[in-house]
Symmetry: C2
Subunit: 341 residues, 2 copies
DNA sequence: CTGAAAGCGCTTACAG
DNA sequence: CTGAAAGCGCTTACAG
């Protein structure tokens, strides 16, 4: 390349003795170019070590070929799986998928919006798992604002009356089928560690409650402990739960919001000399690879992160306003057994 | 905004009754603008719902404010941690960090280079952990080519004579201190599951061999099994190892290339009715959060991914050609005990 | 402090 | 099939 700067289309044109329009046509590859001219231009491109500027091209075409995914914690393998699948699908469609961290508090804000808009992102996927149940009105207003600039898809979870496109995990179904399975094994004192979202239709808590109802098990509020989605919180929540109950009321099964919380809960149970599954059965969520290697192997729900990620990209690219629910499959392992009594 | 398109600086200028230069100055915020003019322009920006185009700005300034990180598998929480820390550091410096998947085969290729160059990326971080020991000359040639367009930093691992900037994990030290610790506990039949890279100075295998030497333990090639960095491979490798040995020669300790491999090895040991640590001690690498929740809790090496990630960004931004080594710390847990004999 | 004008590196009608 | 020219939305010397 020319010293100090990248070669441009002008350098190539001069070198080849043609106009920049012709060089552009060669790069584009869409239009017919006379073979001898083509060769001259190709040689000039080689000689100049020329690479077209995607920035200039995008600027001209008024697109960025860039999509965005906004996630809370990439360190969580569950999100990493979603992102990976989405990235791959986006790449296949000629887009790059950029990652933006969710602002602290897990709610979107103006700063994030400005970043997305100024970058002229072609579409954004927002993870709503820990977001949409806080400050819903304000969040919706911000999303509406964002929608004026680009397609937006909500991911993982969305408010019940969310008016735009969404691809959500069947959180309700996760909890529902777990409770049903536990009931079939004779459990009736089933605890729940997770978000308490009584008014959200597609929530684990509602699935938990309604499944209890269907199984004829009375709902007890003190079996539900609010819990953030990490190991430490799981451990703390489990301790809290046991402390609040008499031994006779100890649960015989625990449903956790995700796998780390389940691991934390198992640790707490162990420190209380409670055996898993002999005393308490445990079910996590997301079926991360390490669950199979926990002792006892942790039961979990396969929430299909890959499918979630690639579906979100598909919907984004067709600017869909559909609501899609991704089902989950219960995977039973050694951490679950029949209740003793 | 004007129907059908985003407002531009021209719309705002017309609305405010000033020139586009003045609007630009207001946006930039660097130059003094007469307070009344400032107000007029601000009002016009509001009214037009105007957001400056970062694409146009970058295009004009000939920068992208974008850095790239090329990683093999984001699904591995170890890489996710590196990326997270790097992303944060980049954001603090006003850059966006884009993720690019390593091409299959874990070696960089022309297609990847073109993507980076055409996007006018301001700097690239390449993960060399599984890359630099394959096809080294070709890889180096490609990197040299890339270096003509942007700063490049090699991450995780680099060839011994790598001429450019690198921030690498002390893989040698990882293995070395693990072997030393095991030897101190009376182990002498120590197996190694990982990459066999006899000629690479900063490799686990060399650390393993040299530590054995220092401890007066003869090196046996059949205690080393080549192994990819995932659970399945770990399990297979462990099975292979045991199959190839007589019972009397079974190792009393195993060093694994990372935590998933260690988990796989533990599973294989279990299926051979070998206890951990009663029969065989196991050490993983990277100290992922779930290691503490394995049964028995897995010993590992904390390789400081956060520090690795943020250091790489720092070096990239100052276009450094230094070589930096990030040390690792052995974390002993229940999976390691003294040798029986 | 403000405006007119050139330029960043491309694409794409429009003529020829 | 090819070239001249306008334009994408900004920034930034240069005058005034």
């Amino acid at each position: 390349m020319a010293a100090g700067r990248n070669a441009t289309i002008y350098d190539v044109a001069k070198e080849a003795g043609v106009s920049i329009a012709t060089v552009s046509r060669v790069i584009g590859g869409k239009t017919r170019v006379n073979p001898p001219t083509l060769e001259k231009v190709r040689a000039a491109i080689q000689k100049c070590n020329y690479r077209p500027s995607a920035i200039a091209r995008d600027f001209n075409r008024k697109v960025s070929h860039t999509l965005a995914m906004v996630l809370p914690e990439l360190t969580n393998p569950y999100y990493a799986q979603i992102y990976s699948a989405a990235h791959e699908r986006a790449a296949a469609a000629g887009y790059v998928l950029m990652l933006f961290p969710m602002p602290s508090g897990n709610t979107i804000d103006e700063t994030l919006l400005e970043l997305l808009i100024e970058r002229r992102i072609d579409g954004a996927i927002l993870n709503g798992e820990y977001m949409t149940h806080r400050n819903t009105d304000r969040q919706l207003a911000l999303i509406k604002q964002l929608k004026e600039f680009m397609p937006v898809i909500m991911l993982g979870s969305a408010p019940s009356d969310y008016p735009y496109g969404s691809v959500v995990t069947d959180l309700y179904g996760c909890a529902y089928q777990a409770v049903e399975a536990l009931h079939a094994l004779g459990h009736s004192r089933i605890a729940f560690l997770g978000a308490i979202e009584t008014d959200v239709p597609n929530s684990r808590e509602r699935g938990y409650r309604e499944a209890l109802g269907k199984c004829g098990i009375p709902y007890k509020a003190n079996y539900c402990v609010k819990c953030e989605p990490d190991v430490k919180s799981g451990e703390t929540a489990m301790h809290e739960l046991l402390r609040s109950l008499t031994f006779a009321d100890y649960p015989t099964a625990v449903l956790a919001i995700n796998d780390p919380v389940a691991l934390g809960a198992m640790k707490a149970l162990e420190s209380h000399a409670l055996g898993v599954p002999s005393d308490v059965s445990v079910i996590g969520c997301d079926d991360q690879f390490y669950t199979a290697y926990a002792k006892p192997a942790l039961s979990s729900l396969d929430t299909q992160p890959q499918k979630t990620g690639s579906t979100a990209i598909d919907m984004l690219l067709k600017n869909s306003d559909e609501h899609i629910t991704i089902g989950a499959k219960l995977v039973l392992r050694a951490s679950v057994s029949a209740a003793r009594d």
